[in-house]
């Protein structure tokens, strides 16, 4: 199992320094699952393309969940797709992160009231780390979401939370 499953007692200097290294490694190499759902996916692709360049932050799309670290839920999560997303999420080995991108993934978006076929927010099935608002968000907004996620990873700890 991953190192994050084990907890250490507080005040361990070695662990504290190692932890910084491990967090740095995880935050600089968040590999995303090559996975797009709807119109936000176009924006996500634009983010990985030359103008915005995801690769600067160490993101590369992996095609199998086994080798990925993060999913960017980019678009409307229909009830049919929700099952697949759940399964893909479960196939990613820990530690794993999720960026919910756009209104539809955040809470159902335009379909939140009357959409009989749309999941009202992807956080109903999987735990979301960062919500990126927008419809669809600009590529910069997604990058900002990624920076927020990196900030979150930087503050993660192996130690017992006191």
């Amino acid at each position: 199992m991953g190192l994050l499953d084990k907890e250490f007692s507080d005040g361990n200097i070695v662990v504290a320094n190692v932890e910084d290294l491990l967090n740095w490694a995880r935050l600089s190499s968040v590999w995303q699952l090559g996975f797009g759902l709807a119109c936000c996916a176009i924006e996500m692709m634009a983010t990985s393309a030359s103008h915005y360049d995801f690769d600067r932050f160490g993101l590369i799309p992996r095609n199998t969940p086994r080798q990925a670290d993060a999913i960017i839920i980019s678009g409307t999560v229909t009830l049919k797709m929700a099952i697949r997303i759940k399964r893909l999420y479960e196939q990613i080995p820990d530690p794993k992160y999720i960026i919910s991108m756009g209104s539809c993934a955040n809470c159902g978006g335009p379909y939140w009231e009357h959409g009989y076929h749309v999941l009202k927010g992807v956080d109903r099935i999987i735990p979301v780390d960062v919500y990126v608002p927008g419809c669809p968000p600009r590529p910069e907004a997604l990058l900002e979401g990624l920076l927020k996620l990196q900030e979150k990873i930087r503050n993660e700890s192996l130690r017992k939370k006191s």
Partner: protein, 355 residues
Amino acid sequence: MYQYFYELTGSVIISTLITAVFPLVNVLLVALLGVYLERKVSAWMQDRVGPNRAGPFGLFQTVADFIKMLQKEDATALDIDKKLYNIAPVLVFAGSFAVYAVIPFSSKLIGSEIEVGLFYALAVSSFVVAGILMAGWSSNNKYSLLGAMRSAAQIVSYEIPTALVVLAMVMFLGTLSLSKISEMQTAYFWNWNILGGAEFGLVKFLLIPFMVVGFVIIFISTLAEVNRTPFDIPEAESELVAGYFTEYCGMKWAMFMLSEYGNMFAVSAIVSILFFGGYQSPFGYLGNTLGIEWLIPYEQAFWFILKGWFFIFVQMWLRWTLPRLRVDQLMTVCWKYLIPYAFVNLIIIGIITLL
């Protein structure tokens, strides 16, 4: 190298260990730098910047990837064949690592100077095929299995043009030893095999076009043997998810990547030994002009690594230029084009050598 360390330390075990560990370090470095270069080259070719956040110019990007992979959970599916699943990456890595035993980095830096070096290098790569089949089958996943079958079929078929070109070269050179082949092309770049070998005369000029053809054939077929684009159909993500390592994660997958990059350097090294003078410098040695004897091996190692990296760069260049071939096109290229040309080339080089 073994002899040198044996004289230095006087211990069989220590010198053997050092001799064995050196290529291992080399493989690791090749993988670390190779992945970084791959991403940077792809970025430059697409007018991007590439990784630049982790360390200066993103140099520690691969280190971060590596440490991250160490932390990943070792997730496995329930119905896999545990034993084979765990052995497969090791076998694949062993196959690509074993080639390094015979590769001469310089006139001093050779693991083993055996006579059949070239043949050995071709032979041990078959462990990679066995490992790939093992990985694909034990994953108990249809995509893995299909990817493994494709990969095995591809490697086995492309071994034929490779072997034919190697055969032509062996006929011409009269030896299978990689260090001897390198030694034959000494001094200046017009002595390299791509320019007709060291002997000056009519034969040399007659050989040049056929040597170029041979080089192109062996470069294409080695490209296919290490599963690089445009021949990476075993990992075609649009149809096979990720090929034979679909189910692998974390360090086990990292071993596949290590062996892939190790293979890339190995085939580049063999191509450069066969046609581009191996570790020989193209312009003579600084050590000779200055009269410093000990400098020469270092210069040789420098030139060798430079040539190896140049061919790795060409492989990446091709990867970011060409789209992936279809399976039938792949087999057509091999059986209908490369093999006939390789045969004709073999016969012509044989006749010219007899002249």
